[in-house]
């Protein structure tokens, strides 16, 4: 039990990182790149949305909300309202990928510590021992993946609700306002508003899960550092 939580010790014959650490060494850069691309694509979309909003509010309220409002105004509002549903989730997926790249970098550092520790012990002619993964080392990749899954699921749901918002706001404001109880138009408005209410904090749960993973990864490095301190003293004592 103690070994499962704090890690035990094992003798390594080869100075190599674990499979997960090797993968982390390769994956951090693509994750970072994807995250940055998403964040900048979101910025571009927001600029387009801002331009549309500027055009939309460039006409009087009477024109915007008339039953025979110009089609170009309806199209702009349709775009704005639909993008408003899924763009925040898309942006946070970008941030989540960047935070995952940080998690992978921390796993990569653990791999370097593992391989380097074995090399040094071999250089001094000692038995190359390493710390077996403590519970934090087993948990942090799971938290990172769970966080990313939450962000992806959030984006998928937001995409579906964005499509419903696209249908709703394809109608003029007058038609939307006149939707009768029991009509599909009013039902869809309710769906869009209720899903938007909980999707907003849901994506932050994903982000929080990734942050928990980062804290566990740093704690794992701390445990490795302590192990190395102990092992250096043992080597000096001739153990």
């Amino acid at each position: 039990m103690r070994e499962m939580i704090f890690g035990g010790r094992a003798v390594l014959t080869e100075a190599q990182p674990t499979g997960m650490q090797k993968m982390a060494g390769m994956m951090w850069a693509p994750m970072l790149l994807m995250g940055l691309m998403i964040v900048f694509a979101s910025l571009g979309l927001s600029v387009v949305k801002a331009n549309f909003a500027s055009d939309y509010f460039g006409v009087t309220k009477a024109v915007r909300e008339a039953a025979d409002a110009p089609a170009y105004l309806i199209d702009k509002r349709q775009f704005i309202e639909s993008v408003n549903v899924w763009l925040p989730g898309f942006q946070l997926l970008g941030i989540g990928l960047i935070l995952s790249a940080i998690t992978f970098s921390l796993a990569n550092i653990l791999g370097v510590f593992r391989a380097g520790g074995v090399q040094i012990q071999k250089a001094f002619g000692a038995e190359p021992q390493t710390i077996t993964p403590p519970i934090t080392a087993k948990l942090f990749p799971m938290f990172m993946m769970m966080g990313l899954m939450i962000l992806i699921v959030n984006l998928i749901i937001a995409g579906i609700i964005g499509a419903i918002a696209w249908d709703v706001y394809g109608n003029s404001v007058a038609e939307i306002n006149a939707a009768a109880p029991g009509s599909s138009l009013l039902g869809d408005q309710g769906t869009v508003n209720s899903y938007k209410a909980w999707l907003e904090p849901f994506k932050f749960v994903g982000l929080a899960t990734i942050l928990v993973g980062i804290s566990l990864a740093v704690h794992t490095i701390l445990q490795v550092i302590r192990f190395q301190g102990q092992r250096i003293r043992e080597l000096a004592a001739g153990n």
Binding site: A197, W198, S215, Q228, E234
Partner: protein
């Protein structure tokens, strides 16, 4: 092959390793409770939008329809910063564990290196100590 895990030659873990899980747990709990509040608000929104706009706009003072519209307008105003308090605690937890890492580098590994490396180098052959 598993060997007993000893920590008798290094100081006990820094206090930060005890504090950071509390910050992380509190931060995560706040973010999850913000989601819980939002789920309740979503059901309120669903009820409100079952009524036509004309009915929503005409809701009289004291009616449940107006009260629920008020909830929809007011709750997000404090739930949003509340959620960010949770994120702040999470980031503070990460900062705290980094602080503990720094202390471990200095007090466990650094101190061990300062004391042990001269001993280890004395015990090594001249060729090894020159690194050639």
């Amino acid at each position: 092959m598993s060997i007993e895990h000893r920590t008798d030659l290094i100081p006990s873990p820094p206090i930060q390793t005890t504090i950071y899980p509390l910050l992380i747990a509190a931060g995560f709990a706040i973010v999850v409770s913000a989601l819980g509040i939002a789920v309740v608000l979503a059901t309120v929104a669903n009820d409100v939008f079952n009524n036509a706009k004309e009915a929503r706009d005409a809701a009289a003072v004291g009616t449940s329809l107006l009260a629920r519209q008020g909830d929809l307008a007011t709750f997000p105003l404090w739930v949003q910063p509340f959620k960010f308090v949770g994120l702040t605690l999470l980031i503070s937890g990460i900062f705290t564990v980094f602080w503990g890492l720094l202390r471990s580098l200095r007090e466990a590994r650094g101190a061990a290196m300062v004391e042990s490396i001269p001993v280890l180098l004395k015990g090594s052959s001249p060729r090894e100590t020159e690194g050639s």
